[in-house]
Symmetry: C2
Subunit: 417 residues, 2 copies
Amino acid sequence: MQPTPCRSEILTIGNEIITGLVADTNSGVITRRLETLGISVKRHVSVGDDADEIIDALKQALERVDCVILTGGLGPTHDDITKQVLCRFFNSKLVTDAKVRRRIDLIFQSRGKETPEAAYTQAEVPEKATILHNSKGTAPGLLFEKNGKRVYSLPGVPHEAEHLLETYIVPHLEKPGTLKTEHRILKTTGMPESILWQEIGPVAPFEEHVKVASLPSLLGVRIRFTATGKDLKETSAKLDAAEKLLRRKIDHHIFAVDDETLEGNLGEWLKKNKKTLAIAESCTGGLIGHRLTNISGSSDYFLEGAVTYSNEAKQNRLGVDPALIETHGAVSEPVAKAMAEGIRQKSGSDFGLAVTGIAGPTGGSPEKPVGLTFIAVTGAQGTRCEQFRFHQDRIRNKERAAQAALNLLRLYLLNES
Amino acid sequence: MQPTPCRSEILTIGNEIITGLVADTNSGVITRRLETLGISVKRHVSVGDDADEIIDALKQALERVDCVILTGGLGPTHDDITKQVLCRFFNSKLVTDAKVRRRIDLIFQSRGKETPEAAYTQAEVPEKATILHNSKGTAPGLLFEKNGKRVYSLPGVPHEAEHLLETYIVPHLEKPGTLKTEHRILKTTGMPESILWQEIGPVAPFEEHVKVASLPSLLGVRIRFTATGKDLKETSAKLDAAEKLLRRKIDHHIFAVDDETLEGNLGEWLKKNKKTLAIAESCTGGLIGHRLTNISGSSDYFLEGAVTYSNEAKQNRLGVDPALIETHGAVSEPVAKAMAEGIRQKSGSDFGLAVTGIAGPTGGSPEKPVGLTFIAVTGAQGTRCEQFRFHQDRIRNKERAAQAALNLLRLYLLNES
């Protein structure tokens, strides 16, 4: 018989979360991790730093589920009240924990600093709680158990919350034999959702193996498969079957799987094939270089970027003929090609990639509207250029142009492989 | 006449939200906007695309508050079930709305496309709902009223949700005479929270006017003031008094207020003073250029950027003496200064800004650990260079280095003013 899977909810505490000043990334991370253990997380709740509201939300959550995970409000400042509220809820009181106090001293010592008196409030913990020692920060996590139900309280700092999740919560909640759930995300770009699904066809063959979700976003459509099975071997086999079906239809649109990125996979290819890249950016302003250099080891293949915002920079840095700009305008196919060829030649790289466009909101005209963008890629196979028409605001046009540029390079390299 | 609701909750619907694939930005935006009307938003709830869970959460929310705002799940794909669920909850049925149908046709016509049959499902709306016509997209919003309570349903796409919020919800809910709440955020960077508060001193004088929250993040500490009053004139006066007190203590650390950004305020200064800027980036890889060019009109003052990742690029593009790199290493004060001076000279700009550092995780050594970064700024006043030691992962080191570079430029320009 399968053990009953635990049901869990996440309760996020903090005015900065509820007013949207800080994005809550913890809830999603915890949810995905618990799902791999077969634990369902059906609901997230966020409340401000308000004792009555926290107690009300916690009480209601415990009526629905076996395990509630709280994040936030464990810091040392006056608006952090989670510990006090938990004392009230569980009828406990704060006591100083000597081990936590020593850890706090150690953390400050390792930074070469004296422990400030205020930091010791972090060593005061509810007497009835089990302490979850936190080697990544000064605030320990807490566990309360009552009537067979569990309440975990974690600091809001994401890497501290994740550390305590892995160290304490996962081992506590993992039950052998529970049905496991696993996701896989196939990322596509360059095709609108409706046309992509025309190419994929009916969803029924996929649903023999997995649940399917289609997640459109500014930078492409992600297809998410969800498989359930007795262990990760079974869920992986189902995900593999669904992925194989999908790749038979739209393999060339898929640029990455799960945590992989477009820039990361491009980097892998360049490194493996010992090729180098240089880029010339106008409207994207450095965003393509930023994405490429987010990848550790990118210095192996990324030689340089030129952010040539002015016409003078396009001429002086890339050798673009002023007559080309005069005749066709800076946002044109001939200039995009000349930029890509110019940076390749100046840097001596194997491939050159260039973008020129009108990010907006100003600078558009009837013939050249805001969003018009030319992207060129060049290499031993010659130069290819494509025209795009984005329609969004400045920042989204930059993001779409950078994505389209990296994708055009990917398609160019596919022919090299 | 219906009484205007004064307590509200937000219910976000979507598996992509609950599993953290997509960040929920709507809830924070709606909360801040409703607070300016004196409407309190005490709780956010997120559930997946699960009919029973949605109904349960909606029923519970209506027990607590007068007005529930739902976002998400109004799209045309098979996992969008909000409309069906609301029909079940309010015992209604779907009917085709001719006006919505015409609007859908108009949207596709404006894109030069035929309306796909699937898009018409967006014109099917619950008979009992008031339609909130959406000029920004194909999914209309919905309003249900029952027993003096209101349920709004908005599409999840942020700019569509905001549009319907302003067009319908704000005018519906605005009530003269209600106490208003207003926030103001003063943004600082370059000082750790504990030292910043030593400079600010006790919080009591501020609390005579406003509530105070201190929000540390990777890129600096934000001080948030919250004022309550009978109208925005009163709240503004309280916020002004608190801001004046704060500026008396730490004015030079404050780089922006509310939605202002560091790069936007730098741009304002450069534009006003008719000065130009060029940059040379190594470890930040283009991020500084990306931030500067996020500002509309930046082409007026931003001439160009050089992403000189390799030593060759530093020499060829910026004229950095190879002997300097040989003697001091690429990550050193002399090279940072030479980069800033090189890009200023090559581009003919008034100011030059340069960054060189070890983003990590590889490339560090005992003498030059990961995170070591030199930032130089140059102009008519001469060249200034500062050394920083960041300790984070690659992407966070890049973000901190870009922020520190823009802040160093800000401090340099303060002396020019």
